[in-house]
Symmetry: C3
Subunit: 346 residues, 3 copies
Amino acid sequence: MKKTLLLLALVGAATATHAQSSVTLQGTVDLGVGYAKGSETSRTQLISGGNTTSKLIFRGTEDLGGGLYAMFWLESGFNADNGTFHATNTNNQPSGTTTPGGMTFNRRSIVGIGGPWGEIHLGRDWSPNYEPYTGKFDPFGLSAGVALNYIGSITPNQIRASNDIVYVSPKVLGGFSVNVQHWLGENPSGSQTSSDGTGSGARLSYDNGPLNAAVALVRTKYAAGDAIYRTVAGAYDFGPARLSFIGTKNQQGTLKESGWLVGVTVPVGATLLKASYSTLGVDRPGDPEGKKLAIGAVYNLSKRTAVYSTLAAIRNSGGARYAITGATTAPNRSSSGFDLGFRHNF
Amino acid sequence: MKKTLLLLALVGAATATHAQSSVTLQGTVDLGVGYAKGSETSRTQLISGGNTTSKLIFRGTEDLGGGLYAMFWLESGFNADNGTFHATNTNNQPSGTTTPGGMTFNRRSIVGIGGPWGEIHLGRDWSPNYEPYTGKFDPFGLSAGVALNYIGSITPNQIRASNDIVYVSPKVLGGFSVNVQHWLGENPSGSQTSSDGTGSGARLSYDNGPLNAAVALVRTKYAAGDAIYRTVAGAYDFGPARLSFIGTKNQQGTLKESGWLVGVTVPVGATLLKASYSTLGVDRPGDPEGKKLAIGAVYNLSKRTAVYSTLAAIRNSGGARYAITGATTAPNRSSSGFDLGFRHNF
Amino acid sequence: MKKTLLLLALVGAATATHAQSSVTLQGTVDLGVGYAKGSETSRTQLISGGNTTSKLIFRGTEDLGGGLYAMFWLESGFNADNGTFHATNTNNQPSGTTTPGGMTFNRRSIVGIGGPWGEIHLGRDWSPNYEPYTGKFDPFGLSAGVALNYIGSITPNQIRASNDIVYVSPKVLGGFSVNVQHWLGENPSGSQTSSDGTGSGARLSYDNGPLNAAVALVRTKYAAGDAIYRTVAGAYDFGPARLSFIGTKNQQGTLKESGWLVGVTVPVGATLLKASYSTLGVDRPGDPEGKKLAIGAVYNLSKRTAVYSTLAAIRNSGGARYAITGATTAPNRSSSGFDLGFRHNF
């Protein structure tokens, strides 16, 4: 006994010429059981987003005629293990971090216009840095097997920016595209920190068949020291296996962090096997460094639904104490973790 | 524009007699780049809702037969520039203001029943004052060109009320309708402030072809001094131009604020040109007063999508220091602002 | 009764074998006017959820073939009188209670897989105790006429649990089914309170035509004293009337509370008459005890929409001071209440 809800473009019929309506309601619920082990504390936990972030999306496009379109994209990340939502940030500064819990469009909140010349949109968006961190280059994306090289302590606008003006080019010259952004800290004028949270970034991507590559530069101003991210990534799909790498050099004031990742994915029937090796080092006496190995398998029950498992281990040296999320480990000690989960896109 | 999700009552067909279901998921994403200038501080910012408030709406009606219908309307306002949502208020008193950030149905949260005799609904609703503040009488509505006369310092239930019981009449006598409301502060009995936040309001509207008019009276009790709003508005569409005015007299305890607005809109092809002049004065020694001029244009790319721009300037006298949102200005100094934005209804 | 929203945007992916997408968007808006009287304070108020909790639900299932399906269910409870949402709890401990206001999936947030062997899902779910508290056994469910026997002061995981792993069996042996759960407090290892918030529960239900029965046991660990719930419930539909009972024995550390409910519902045309008598006693010197009588009527305007009214009165003895929600009453004094409301499912 079901009632079926059909999306009908009632509007369009009589009065509007380009009123082809569409709203897409979609998302992901991803939950797994995980264990994170450290030399100090360990933890058994339910993990939301072990394969793909749990999220709710409202989005749509409208054909404006003449090759133009309007678009919007509103996306909320949530912790499916307890029903809370992720926080957002209103001004690209620590003072703008919101209380987590209630639903926000923390992941994306944009409206824009596009055409053959590309797309301009405004709002809260993925920063140019984001693409290299996704499954496009990291076999595990921003999940449990999350690469060390982008979980350092420098984070402003590493992944997203609010009050953002974005231009995305179409693909040209057989695969090149550009993403250019400028975001605002929105502080009152006249003080030393007026420009805090204001920044810019750009990414050049190349996508042509089996070859993907991207290079991104992001800089946000802070009177106490600009946050700067330099990221490069590449991947080649040989068919039986796809190899990828990412390199990152991040900096805020005198703090410098750098790392890299190499990854591989191997499709075997409905299963995707994957592995990555990533590092994160801090430019500081003693050269603290973490090295992480992650291996995993994703078994696709359908196009939208999968069972997955991940194993990961971190080794620390030079006083570093990186640990699998949920555990804490002493300097130079190891940490390891495991998850077994279920991901459903709707 | 609206998308209607029609429920094909596959279930209902068999068992229910009035099962024609409908849920409408709609909203607005409106973002622009703005600059607000004041003598003290200025600010460059992304502005959400420069033309129309960014919002998400879930609503529907059900035909109950016999001319009756059930209805619900759940509406959330949000800041599309950073993904946060607007706060609501639980008890029509300062103590009931919620932490902003997470999604609430701050704009409207009602359920009710209607018929030929009108509609009764309960919940959080627009107060009787609301209609005169909308685009129906103010060319700019509650947007960047926002009229001075309703942004004073007296605000409880000026625009919305929680715990509200509302009757809306049908149109009678060729265009008259009535909106009568009573809302509750929901305080425990037996104290001096037991009635704080409890209030009532009514609006008489007249809508007939080119002529619109409304008069509203709102009063909420507070032991420290009732908040009272008296509002009158009118508009006439001459065809080539539509003229409108609003007058407001607000009062809370000994504080009295009054103002007025005159507005004009001129459609030129797909463009709507608009201008308004508004004032706000406080009944206090020195007669502090602000005067604001706003001019703007909205170019409709489709029925749902528009590009818009607004210019506004405020002059202060008598010690007043009103400023464009985002700027601060010294007493008797001016403030001005500009926005350029994009609005999409879905 | 489900509404299935076909996402045309997603369908048509040529490669998917089981790509039949479905998202159901549904919910309830329920509001009434109520008066709660106590010997100390009384209150007139709008009540959200007097008949059924106001809520928003996103859910769906996917046919995975071979008798398997994937499912998700995301459900948010809200206060329709003011637009705020209910809080959730992240770790089954007082420290995990979130700030109320913004939308969370506090009522349910699960993803899982099912088949002929039953269903396994993960996330935040109703605890095994929940079913006996619903309209299945209590004529008033968790509404204004709410039974005394489950509103005591022992509450952790009484109704829901986060970080929960759930198995639900199919119906076997002509009506038996089992719901088994284990939830995690997710504390770091190595402290005395590491297991706080971790617990388990199980329910055995029997549903066969007019006969429903359930017995549930729930236990969550706390170093300061485990929270334990023992619940039994039964109902039989004689046709002209349906009789039901619930018995509860709850315990946390040295605090013990127990109570029972007897209920009856009588359908008369489109109206459902209902009554319940419930008790709650604390095992403490003086034997404080409350006894509550509730009577009500629900008039169904359609399958989805109803008008309802409830009258309830509480008597206290032994120093107890239970009161209708919104009122406070002195020890051994009475409390009474009344509501008149409107409930719409969409």
